[in-house]
């Protein structure tokens, strides 16, 4: 068992050496070159800070719940809540809008100019209106993530639907699948699924990036992004780095899980096609 794991590791030796050298280099630069914890906390500083955070508790005060939990877990719960409010609404709105635009040309012509005008506005520029419209609450954070995530979903769904080969639509028609609803459900949607899935992956990445900013303007007292700001005010830069790294690892993790699920479960018929 152990031997098997070791063998697996030795296959990744280059990657491991790369990461280890980066850590050593970081440590050396922090300790001997910068020599200032405020400008660059060392690897060991960050590790101790992480252990420190692990031992702290916080109160989860959400929807009438009142638990005493590790602070990291509370931050994670808040961040995932913000993230999923945004992502789920982006999926719920982006996919149908993209589908309808891709299938009906007139609707595309009506909606497309509006989308093209709104899309280039950076999600963070919406912060003032998010506060005025929604207030300082998790929904406002969700709104920003929604703005970041919805456009990649709309555009990829739209492209997927636009590219449905005529021969599949015609084959379905002669087999008795005739209405728009049936054609969308049985032909266009499955055909566009790889493109939609790719859009969701991009959207998740963008949404995750919006998370930090969305939590910075005070929608809650917890959250991974909020804590970066919070520890910055306290000049605890090693804690800032802990939360930065956590955001990075979680983003990576979400992407990997999604990719595994999409490639392995949804898109078995597309072997060899990388999305």
């Amino acid at each position: 068992m152990v031997k098997k794991h070791l063998q697996k590791l030795s296959g990744k030796s280059v990657e491991i050496v790369s990461i280890c050298s980066a850590i050593i280099l970081w440590q050396l630069i922090a300790v001997y070159v910068v020599q200032n914890k405020f400008y660059l906390p060392s690897f060991t500083d960050v590790t101790f800070a992480f252990v420190d955070i692990l031992s702290r508790d916080a109160k989860l005060d959400l929807l009438g719940l009142d638990y005493q939990l590790p602070v990291l877990l509370v931050d994670l719960i808040y961040s995932l809540m913000h993230f999923w409010i945004g992502m789920l609404s982006a999926l719920a709105i982006g996919i149908p809008v993209g589908m309808i635009m891709g299938w009906f040309q007139t609707i595309d012509r009506i909606v497309d100019p509006l989308i093209e005008i709104i899309r280039p506005i950076p999600p963070l520029a919406w912060i003032p209106f998010a506060i005025i419209w929604i207030g300082l609450n998790p929904l406002a954070a969700g709104f920003l993530i929604f703005i970041g995530a919805v456009f990649p979903i709309i555009i990829n769904t739209f492209t997927g639907f636009k590219n449905v080969s005529r021969v599949y639509v015609e084959a379905a028609k002669v087999l008795g699948c005739n209405t728009d609803r049936e054609l969308i459900r049985y032909v266009a949607l499955p055909y566009a699924l790889p493109s939609i899935a790719a859009g969701i992956r991009i959207a998740m990445g963008v949404g995750w990036m919006c998370l930090v900013a969305a939590e910075m303007f005070g929608v809650s007292r917890n959250g991974l992004g909020y804590k970066i700001w919070h520890h910055y005010y306290l000049h605890n830069m090693e804690f800032v780095l802990v939360y930065m790294l956590l955001l990075g690892f979680l983003g990576l993790f979400i992407d990997r899980v999604l990719r595994y699920y999409i490639d392995g479960k949804l898109l078995k018929w597309r072997k060899g096609v990388v999305i």
Binding site: E170, V174, L175, G176, C177, N178, K268, W269, R270
Partner: protein
């Protein structure tokens, strides 16, 4: 029953700036029930257009098409179609592709699956039941496409150069298999091809078309006994006659 009647059909394609081509000019013809008819002609003669109009995928500008005295105005499960391009749904396995038609007409999945096994056997692909189209060769894909079209139990099978993209050997084998399927199932087959050899081997009747505007030039009763010999003297004579006619048509 699968009696097809084409009556005074014209179809004109218009491009954006007023240039238009007359793809079919006042075409009329009849196909009897159970007949195997091949359409042949130079490219651009409207043979595919005619087939698409019969399928209901395209509409004529003038004239009507009847199937058993009912006007055709939309695609329907009474007319199966096999395309030249590979048209299997790539996200469905072989068996799921075959039951697509029956499921669309409201047959329960379990029943449809039982029926589908029959068609899978007919094209000899039982061991590829659960494969995805990307795992099949071109010949196998077209076999599945035929099984999928037959699963709707159509009275007419429309085939648009279905073997056009296959190599010569596979093509010969599939022609043979198609004839066996045709004999077993008693259906009318309308088959578009550009291969004279294919038409002479398969058809009861060969419809020779002329190009621009697309018209029926000649209908040839093949009349060779089945099973046919590709290299018999009669087949060769007929082939030569059709080839000459086609060459004359292309020079025009």
């Amino acid at each position: 029953m699968g009696e097809v009647r084409v009556s005074n059909v014209s179809r004109r394609f218009t491009k954006d700036n007023d240039t238009s081509t007359l793809a079919l000019d006042n075409v009329s013809m009849e196909v009897n029930d159970g007949e195997f008819v091949c359409f042949i002609g130079p490219s651009g003669c409207g043979k595919t257009t005619l087939l698409r109009i019969i399928s209901g995928l395209d509409k004529p500008d003038k004239g009507e098409v009847y199937l058993d005295d009912r006007v055709i105005d939309a695609p329907g499960p009474d007319r199966g179609m096999v395309f030249q391009e590979y048209s299997l749904f790539p996200w469905k396995t072989v068996i799921e592709n075959i039951i697509f038609g029956p499921q669309m007409s409201g047959i329960k999945k379990k029943e449809a699956l039982e029926d589908a096994e029959k068609y899978l056997e007919l094209v000899g692909l039982q061991q590829f039941r659960d494969s995805y189209p990307y795992e099949l060769s071109g010949g196998m894909k077209q076999r599945v496409a035929i099984a999928r079209a037959l699963a709707n139990e159509p009275s007419v099978l429309l085939m648009d150069e279905p073997f056009g993209a296959l190599d010569a050997q596979t093509r010969n084998i599939l022609q043979q298999e198609l004839l066996e399927i045709w004999e077993k199932n008693n259906i009318t087959i309308l088959f578009v091809t550009h291969s004279v050899d294919e038409a002479v081997f398969l058809a009861d009747k060969i419809v020779l078309m002329s190009a621009r505007p697309g018209k029926i030039k000649e209908v040839i009763d093949v009349g060779l006994p089945r099973p046919r010999d590709r290299t018999s003297l009669e087949a060769n004579t007929l082939r030569e006659r059709i080839l000459r006619s086609l060459v004359r048509e292309q020079k025009k």
